[in-house]
């Protein structure tokens, strides 16, 4: 069997998985709602800079400070006279980017650890799983805060910290799936014709655990976005970047609560809730579609 043939098989498998997946998924109303909300925010993030006048985000030239919504500023202004609506739109970009990048890191680590652990078993498995347990059990907001504080405030660090602390749940799930996949006949067959370990893991196991990875990604993404917001709120974010978390951080520390400035506190928070909720909805829908028990990562 040459490798081209294997590749063709793999693609066929993916394609089949995808189309059957979609036909079940679209019947799930929760999943569809989630997807629509997410699409709206994705559009907002991509088109954001074309929708709002970016110059409103710079600090000079505005006199209306902490002002309730007007016809000019639909969501009012903050303590520097910046337009909240513009902030929310521009912030969606960084917030989503941080969430997705952190998720990517988390998924890569989780998948590699899970597959390697499940594939090799024995000592490797025992060691990796012990390590995974540590990350599962450590209360991770304190861990993230400590790491963020030690590394210093920057977007890159925030992404790194969230990614590095949130892979454990994924690793466990991928491992158990790997354990069952590796007993399947085609893996045995590939081994018999002398395929290398890396080859088997990449071409035979990965495609089969992929649906799980996909489903888990969605849930991790929700957690990652929540984490970014929380870390930023607690002052660990990059103050030169506009994210929903930073907006809330500034609103709270500049006294939005005592001003009763609801227009400053509500919009970024609602955006976070909507995005997290959409990921959660999609996750629930996927759970029903893909069925194998997904364990949600408990924050």
């Amino acid at each position: 069997m040459n490798s081209a043939l294997v590749k063709k098989d793999t693609f066929a498998l993916w394609k089949k998985n995808l189309s059957s997946f979609w036909s079940i998924y679209r019947q799930n109303s929760m999943g569809l709602i989630g997807m629509v909300i997410l699409l709206i925010f994705a559009l907002m993030a991509i088109l954001g800079p074309y929708l709002v006048d970016i110059t409103i985000m710079t600090v000079d030239g505005v006199t209306q400070v902490i002002h309730p919504p007007t016809s000019e500023y639909w969501l009012g202004t903050d303590d520097l006279g910046k337009d909240i609506l513009a902030g929310v739109i521009v912030g969606s970009r960084v917030s989503l980017m941080v969430g997705l990048a952190a998720t990517a890191i988390s998924m890569v680590i989780g998948t590699v650890v899970g597959i390697v652990s499940g594939f090799y078993g024995r000592v490797v498995d025992a060691l990796l799983m012990r390590f995974t347990d540590v990350f599962l059990v450590i209360p991770w907001l304190p861990l993230m805060l400590v790491m963020a504080a030690l590394l210093g405030p920057s977007l890159g660090n925030i992404i790194f910290v969230i990614g590095i602390t949130s892979w454990a749940g994924t690793a466990r799930i991928i491992r158990s799936q790997t354990l069952s996949v590796k007993e399947r006949p085609y893996v045995e067959r590939a081994r018999a014709i002398g395929s290398g370990d890396t080859h088997i893991m990449f071409y035979h196991i990965l495609p089969n655990v992929f649906p799980l990875i996909f489903a888990n990604t969605v849930l991790v993404a929700a957690v990652a976005i929540l984490s970014e917001t929380t870390l930023s709120f607690l002052g660990m974010g990059d103050p030169t970047q506009v994210t929903w978390g930073m907006m809330l951080h500034f609103a709270f520390s500049m006294g939005a609560v005592s001003f009763g400035a609801w227009w400053w506190l509500l919009p970024p928070g609602i955006c976070v809730v909507l995005v997290v909720l959409s990921f959660t909805f999609i996750g629930y829908a996927l759970d029903e579609v893909l069925n194998p028990k997904l364990r949600r990562r408990d924050q």
């Binding site: 303590d79 103050p239 030169t240 520390s253």
Partner: protein, 544 residues
């Protein structure tokens, strides 16, 4: 179905209960005592004077202990524990005559031995911030119970302003000096001050009870409580609702709101403070410097000053609270402050452009100027993560300098890292501030050559300035010394290693419906949180 009804019943009970709790407010009994409640945002880190560093911890120390001297509203030195003093012709032998009949909080008598002990204990063990004040004391002698002489190794201009609280010998002589600067908590601090700490809950509050036998007369206040808040909203709201009598450290936005609401019982006080915010350049002319060498050119630094609209920066970043800065000594210290007049480099972007052009920094294709050697005028501005105000200022500086062809990259790091980079000479410029002592000597000293690798943060070095500093330190004549100090400020301003961005205010608010006798000290200064405790001594309930 019955199950649901039970649940509904439970919810109703819960709701009723919470309404009950909500309705039970204001049942607190009328408190007969006169309690002064102070709200502050930052924690009192310790009661041990040897390790404290924050304004609020100093406030507690200043109430619990006494200095030998104090100041009046004009910052002229006044008696405190020492009722008078004199100095011999050499200017090096000082005699302090102490108040008689003063007792410590525990009833022991206060004597000259305590003064001698305190200064020697600190000098011999090089303790805390106080060491600076006693380092040059060669000999301290007890003449009699109420007289002590101090011989210094050279005439010292700031004498007799020894900012060292006097500690009781019978307590501190038992304390191992290593402990004194270490884990000694000083939980029941015994001093001579008008109040004594009776309860200290870290990060929550500190309660102080009046000293019935205070030697300057018992204050009318029975108890002082400093309450620490984690968020400003709570603090401001507590003042509005009358739970607090005074708050300090109020953020600009909330202060503005307090002013605008105009509650007749609340005074929002925009007081001058002894602090400033500066833009500091790396002017270190040493191989080890990792700063951009273009900034060694004075012309570039002055051009930057001309290009900055500091009033606009204060208006936006500080909500208008603050004053455009000029020289090293803030105008709060009227006597020592140099008024630059015509020489002040006010906002003039055209002038900035002209200076840069004349010095050969021509505009590059990308809008960034290049030096005659071909290097771009592109600098990194370091900002403290701890200060949102500085961050706002930085983004405005970036925009303003872009107008004249200078590129700024803003980088936010935390104070620890910034300190490290400063000591490493690894910076182009940064924004930070200083809190200036009553005597200008210490802030002027920061810019001397000797302080490189110690207090200096711009690595400024000018032999003329250094010489003037040594002379003013030894000049006892106040007017003569003033001339020297003004000259130092002029030299420093001309060389421009700092651009003084703002003289910062102390924003505080207090209620006038319960107590009267709030004293601003100095005249344009705040009512609390200075080294001067007049307010606590003067304050009395209205109508008494």
């Amino acid at each position: 179905m019955r199950k649901v009804n039970k649940l509904a019943l439970m919810l109703v009970i819960l709701l009723a209960f919470s309404l009950l709790i909500a309705g039970c407010g204001g049942e607190e009994a009328q408190d007969e005592r006169n309690v002064l409640r102070i709200g502050y945002m930052r924690e009192i880190e310790s009661l041990n004077p040897m390790v404290i560093w924050s304004v609020q911890a100093y406030e507690v120390m200043n109430l619990n202990y006494n200095y030998l001297m104090g100041w009046d509203e004009d910052l002229v030195v006044t008696p405190k524990l020492a009722k008078s003093w004199d100095v011999d012709e050499s200017g090096m032998l000082w005699t302090f005559y102490l108040e008689e009949g003063v007792t410590w909080h525990d009833g022991e008598p206060f004597t000259a031995e305590d003064v001698k002990f305190t200064f020697e204990y600190i000098r011999d063990n090089e303790l805390g911030y106080f060491y600076d004040y006693v380092a040059s004391m060669e000999e301290i002698e007890v003449v009699d119970e109420n007289t002590v002489t101090i011989k210094t190794d050279e005439p010292i201009a700031w004498m007799p302003q020894i900012l060292v609280p006097i500690f009781p010998k019978h307590i501190w002589s038992e304390i191992d000096p290593a402990d004194a600067e270490g884990e000694f908590t000083n939980e029941n601090p015994v001093g001579t001050g008008p109040f004594q700490v009776i309860e200290h809950r870290k990060g929550e509050f500190t309660r102080m009870a009046v000293n019935e036998n205070y030697f300057k007369g018992r204050p009318a206040i029975d108890e002082v409580i400093i309450i620490i808040y984690a968020n400003t909203d709570m603090m401001v709201e507590a003042l509005k609702q009358g739970e607090l009598d005074v708050i300090g450290d109020v953020p600009g936005a909330q202060f503005k709101a307090l002013q605008e609401v105009g509650d007749p019982d609340i005074v929002a006080l925009d007081a001058d403070s002894p602090s400033f915010t500066e833009l500091s350049f790396n002017v270190w002319e040493d191989e080890a410097s990792k700063g951009n060498p273009i900034l060694l050119d004075r012309e570039v630094r002055i051009a930057i000053e001309y290009a900055l609209d500091r009033q606009e920066m204060i208006d936006v970043a500080l909500m208008g609270y603050g004053e455009v800065g000029s020289t090293l000594v803030p105008p709060l210290f009227e006597f020592w402050h140099l008024d630059l007049g015509e020489d002040f480099r006010a906002y003039d972007p055209q002038m900035a452009v002209d200076i840069l052009e004349a010095a050969g920094y021509t505009l590059g294709a990308d809008g960034i100027r290049v030096s005659p050697e071909g290097d771009p005028l592109s600098f990194t501005l370091l900002i403290r993560n701890e200060s949102p105000d500085n961050q706002k200022m930085a983004s405005m500086i970036k925009d303003m300098l872009a107008e004249v062809g200078i590129e700024i990259t803003v980088s936010v790091i935390d104070e620890g890292t910034l300190t490290d980079r400063i000591y490493d000479g690894d910076f182009d410029m940064f924004i930070w501030g200083w809190y200036v002592d009553v005597d200008p000597s210490s802030i002027l000293k920061v810019a001397t050559t000797d302080e490189i690798m110690s207090w200096s943060d711009c690595f400024y070095s000018n032999p003329v300035y250094d010489e003037l500093h040594l002379v003013q330190q030894r000049t006892l004549d106040r007017d003569q010394r003033r001339e020297l100090i003004l000259e130092m400020q002029r030299i420093f301003y001309n060389d421009s290693p700092y651009i003084m961005l703002s003289y910062d205010p102390e924003l505080m608010a207090y209620r006038t419906d319960k107590y009267e006798g709030w004293v601003r000290n100095p005249r344009t200064g705040p009512v609390l949180f200075t080294n001067i405790i007049d307010t606590y001594e003067e304050l009395r309930p209205i109508g008494e």
